[in-house]
Amino acid sequence: MNTRLFPSTRTLAIVTLLVTGLDAAAQSGLTFSGSIQSDILLPQTDKTIRAQADEDVQTNTYVDLGLSSRYVDAGVRFEYLDHPLPGFESDFKGWGLPYFYGKVHLDKAELTLGDFYEQFGSGFVLRTYEERSLGIDNSLRGARLVLKPWQALTVKALAGRQRNYWKHNKAWITGADAELSIDQLLKPLSQNGHRLVFGASFVNKHEKDEDILIDATHRLNLPKDVTAMDLRLSWQKDAFSLLGEYAWKSQDPSFDNGYIYRNGQVAMLSASYSKKGFSALVMAKRSDNFSFRSRRSQNGTSSFINHLPAFTQDQTYALAALYPYATRPQGEWAYQAELGYNFKRRTPLGGRYGMNVKMNFSHVRGIDVQTLGGRGSDGYRSSFFKQGDETYYQDFDIQVERKLSKAFKLNLMYMNQRYNKTIVEGEGGMIRSNIFIADGKYQFSPKTTLRAELQYLTTPDDEGDWAFALAELSLVPHWMITLSDQWNCGKTDVHYYLGAVTYAIGAHRIQLGYGRTRAGYNCSGGVCRYVPASKGFTLSYNYNF
């Protein structure tokens, strides 16, 4: 079904006035910018991987336009998602102008009207952002004011309604954030190289009542205002830094938590050391009932007001990313430690050109839960420091990057992974795997480089072993040719092959490809969504101006 979301006539008039005003203020320096991103699939049926071709052409296309000047900016985005690529939620379909804004920015103040993105602290109570590959855009439509009355103090205030695909949820979101650089107030601190910042945030969701029945004659008395607050303190001196952050949320019965009345909380502590040649990081986080949406009955990926960062490393290698963990806002303990060291060149371990070693360990498990009841109750009790019985995810990886000659660079990686597929996807048990990766790049000439990857994942679980190979030839400045194959040598013997040719000139980039993409599950809030397999020709175009 076509669904459009056009701005009102009044809003269009405001944007037009702004644009006209910018034109008249050309002497202030008017800059026009934008981008076009279009991904197109011509799907084909493939019985081996169960790919279906329900449409002739599928595309996700975005066009961003912006005008900026010394004091005023304006922008608009056109989206065409009426025949979207596979794997997006059904409400994702539509086309129109869902994003537009006007901004006035002065020396100490900035006012935005229209759609905007914002984050408070680490995002525990507010993070609105766009992630096109996941179909996420939870921008707010309203007003945002940022004040910097002094160098040491930044204050933000905002109010608006949140985008939910092609409409806006009815709930009103209001919020404020303040950050104070204490080192700017206490001179001895800054004079001794200390940086100390204290932050406080508050977000309120006002949502009208609705009928959630628990039996034929009783419905829940739902709180119409849900408040979340966040406190954080960060300290940095030389190579050391520390961050502590705590967030709390009032009663928020919702689909995500089974309509219980338990308050939510998140606590995070991180410490890092970073100096030339050496870095270390340790972090711990505990989240408990902290899903925060602008529509209490929403499920899926839409309408989150906040975002809890994942404590697992984003993997770019195909087999290392085969079993990705998704943060569970319902509750988890997460730990992460990273270590990086650069062995200098012309040392015994560094060799002629030097060697870089990185290690990462991530562990996520459940929190303690003592069930009290279901809908309408407090849900459960949970001892803060007690861990739950179940491991959700764990990985340890070590990467070694070394230049072996003037032309050849090698990156080796080993990863041990445990992935609780039942927790994340709804079924499958614990997947235990070892992954071996070799990534080599050889520069034949200043204009010709060949990169090759070989990966192997071995596991007795799920679909068994996988192998992956990739070859990528770069012919600077314009061409890149990529061939890859991901082969399930364990149980199915299916090859997921891909070939692509990329041409780049100036700000234009176009890629033509053909191949298969594997199916998988995307789970959120107790409901799992299937992302189907696909096969066919792909065309991608990017242009930035």
């Binding site: 169960r50 059904s90 009355p149 002094w150 040491a152 103090l153 404020a176 303040a178 104070l180 107030l185 204290f198 945030s201 508050f202 309120n204 609705e210 009928d211 959630i212 029945l213 628990i214 039996d215 034929a216 004659t217 009783h218 419905r219 829940l220 008395n221 709180p223 119409k224 205002d225 849900v226 408040t227 607050m229 709390w248 009032s250 009663q251 689909f255 089974g258 309509y259 009345y261 009955s297 499920n299 899926g300 809908r375 309408g376 109750s377 407090d378 039942t422 709804g426 079924e427 499958g428 614990m430 679909e463 149980k491 199915t492 599950y521 107790g526 409901v527 799992c528 969504r529 299937y530």
Partner: protein, 269 residues
């Protein structure tokens, strides 16, 4: 810059934020609001799109049982349509034992992507938390249509049924007949890697008797029409556990639903 003013402003801001924190907390004694019981004017159909490998689906099934206990099993008629990605073997794509091709077609037709999910009286997909409120509202909506399953019996290897549809107003739609079966013992996945191989499945969709999308029916005011249908009994079905679900639907509404079990092998007139 006056640091004293800055600190004062910041403290004031932080205190202001804190004053908002304790608002709208509902004490345990105040969490339930009494409402009027529903006046039943029609039965309501729940199409429960479920799967044997769907770990959250038993929770939706429990909700159905709870709603039937609250509103009456004759008023809340559920059909468990095994389908979707959790109704097939994830490696081979083959149907799990309770999944049917018709059920999969329905899942695709409604554009469903997740499980568990239900469709109540064909008013769009909804989660099981919402069913109670939807059913409470739907039960009270008047309808001009009544359905009577006059006969439903086993005749040899076939099932024969006579269904009469009456309407107090002019109505145009489709009559759909589905066979369901109770008490099927089979596998069901649960959270925490639990697999129950002796789970008892009820109201399982077996087949659409009169075509996937039913038979057109058009009635003038006060008119009734009675039709006879037959379908072959599969050997895997247990006759004593079978039931016939009949409903009349339009583009976006189910006007009336009825369910009648097959009680004996001769007939149940």
């Amino acid at each position: 810059m006056n640091k004293g003013i800055a600190i004062r402003y910041f403290s004031l801001l932080t205190l202001s934020l804190c004053t908002f924190i304790a608002c709208d907390q509902v004490s345990e004694a105040d969490r339930l609001i009494e409402i009027e019981g529903a006046t039943v004017n029609r039965a309501v159909l729940i199409e429960d799109y479920t799967g044997q490998m769907c770990v959250n689906c038993p929770t939706a099934t429990e909700e159905i049982h709870h709603l039937q206990a609250e509103f009456g099993a004759e008023n809340v008629i559920a059909v468990g349509i095994f389908s979707g990605p959790f109704g097939v073997n994830p490696r081979t794509g083959a149907n799990l034992p309770l999944t049917t091709d018709t059920g999969k077609d329905y899942f695709t037709h409604w554009g469903l992507l997740e499980q568990p999910v239900g469709i109540v009286n064909r008013h769009g997909a909804s989660s099981y938390f919402d069913w109670a409120a939807i059913i409470h509202k739907e039960l009270q909506r008047p309808t001009p249509v009544s359905i009577d399953i006059e006969t439903f019996r086993l005749e040899g290897d076939s099932l024969a049924m006579q269904v009469c549809v009456r309407s107090a107003e002019a109505v145009s739609g489709h009559l759909q007949l589905w066979l369901t079966e109770d008490s099927i013992v089979g596998t069901q996945y649960f959270p925490n890697n639990v697999i129950d191989r002796e789970y008892v499945h009820n109201h399982v969709f077996r087949t659409a008797v009169n075509g996937d999308w039913g038979t057109p029916v058009s009635l003038s005011q006060g008119q009734s029409v009675s039709q006879r249908f037959t379908c072959r009994k599969e050997s895997s079905w247990t006759p004593g556990h079978l039931a016939l679900v009949a409903f009349v639907y339009t583009d976006n509404d189910v006007l009336q639903t009825i369910r009648k079990p097959l009680n004996n092998t001769i007939g149940n007139e």
